[in-house]
Symmetry: C2
Subunit: 210 residues, 2 copies
């Protein structure tokens, strides 16, 4: 069986094919700018789902805020180990950024049990007490996204931006619609789609553009 | 903001909504059997993508082989840490199964460099030398899937089944089409779609049904 075995060739060829398909299915489609193009194409690369041409929404200041946070040793908080696995941690470390998924921490589990909330929500409370700049990368838990908005609103959480792409059928769509109404810089996927893989891909697209 | 915070309620409600949407978009749709229903619905739960009703294909013996392997302390080999993160490792451990993602191992990197192949391919070679029953769970690397087929064909790899759902634009679709032609018990996603999240969801659906 003949097949391409060089990883860099595979990636370059993939992005070429993606552009070819966009030309075919959406002739004349124009991305707002170069970074938005990179983010959306990487979302498609990760999912093979061209719906991201329409449903990925990036607020005006989101990319600048994310880049600035990443340049200033922000901590990236994810809601799943899966999202954390997918993020290029070598790049984050090179920038001096930290990264954490707190959901499985004992303290977080205890806090969740005590308060009768999800571990994802408790993880946001613990993250809020961390020093330094903060970015939330949420691909799974609408409850985490709601918690971020609540705490920001109460003034008990300081953050730079949210990649808010929870997937699912209960609260995912609604939580992202709410986020759009806030002042928090965001990247979201409208509707039900999203996921940990997508969340990681979005952060990686930004890291690769820096 | 009002939202459901109980994880079990969220999951039950999600599956109820998924069935409701299937009834709406595909009236009269019938799953082949209960386990296929569980696998496909969990795929949809993880991706919010109803295309999996049509593109998820399960070979006749795949589920029996996977269940038998899981009952007999098989090792699960994934092609990404992301897939491994998503798999319910508590359940695997309770069954006495092991799980490994070898792509980042030093031996694998050295072998890949020496042979001029991808690390995903080298990881399959190393896995083949492992004792005991084997299941491959591949959500990312067509090259790994091709390597599994090559080694099986040469008689140098003994395995029970493959969850073969690489996503992407170069080789993903073709590799899955090839797998369908082999004798290897498989679960695949036809076309370009798939992913590490999907790969994990499929194994979890089987674990939860046991």
């Amino acid at each position: 069986m003949e097949y391409i075995k060089n990883p860099m060739m595979i990636e370059d060829k993939s992005f070429e094919i993606i552009q070819g398909i966009i030309d075919e299915i959406r002739p004349g489609y124009e991305f707002k700018n170069e970074i938005e193009e990179k983010i959306i194409k990487r979302a498609i690369h990760t999912t093979a789902d061209f719906e991201y041409l329409d449903i990925l929404k990036i607020s005006d200041t989101a990319v600048d805020m994310l880049v600035d946070a990443l340049k200033n040793k922000a901590t990236i908080f994810t809601d799943t180990n899966m999202a954390l696995s997918g993020i290029n941690k070598r790049k984050l470390s090179a920038l001096g950024c930290e990264y954490k998924c707190l959901v499985a921490d004992e303290d977080v589990a205890a806090l969740a049990k005590e308060k009768g909330i999800t571990r994802s929500m408790a993880a946001v409370e613990v993250a809020a007490n961390t020093e330094g700049r903060k970015v939330f990368v949420l691909g799974n838990a609408p409850t985490a996204l709601y918690k971020v908005m609540e705490m920001k609103n109460e003034g008990s959480l300081d953050l730079d931006a949210v990649v808010g792409v929870p997937v699912g059928f209960v609260g995912a769509e609604e939580s992202k619609d709410e986020l759009e109404k806030t002042e928090i810089p965001y990247i979201i996927s409208k509707g039900r789609k999203g996921g940990s893989n997508l969340a990681a891909a979005i952060i990686n697209a930004i890291l690769y553009s820096m």
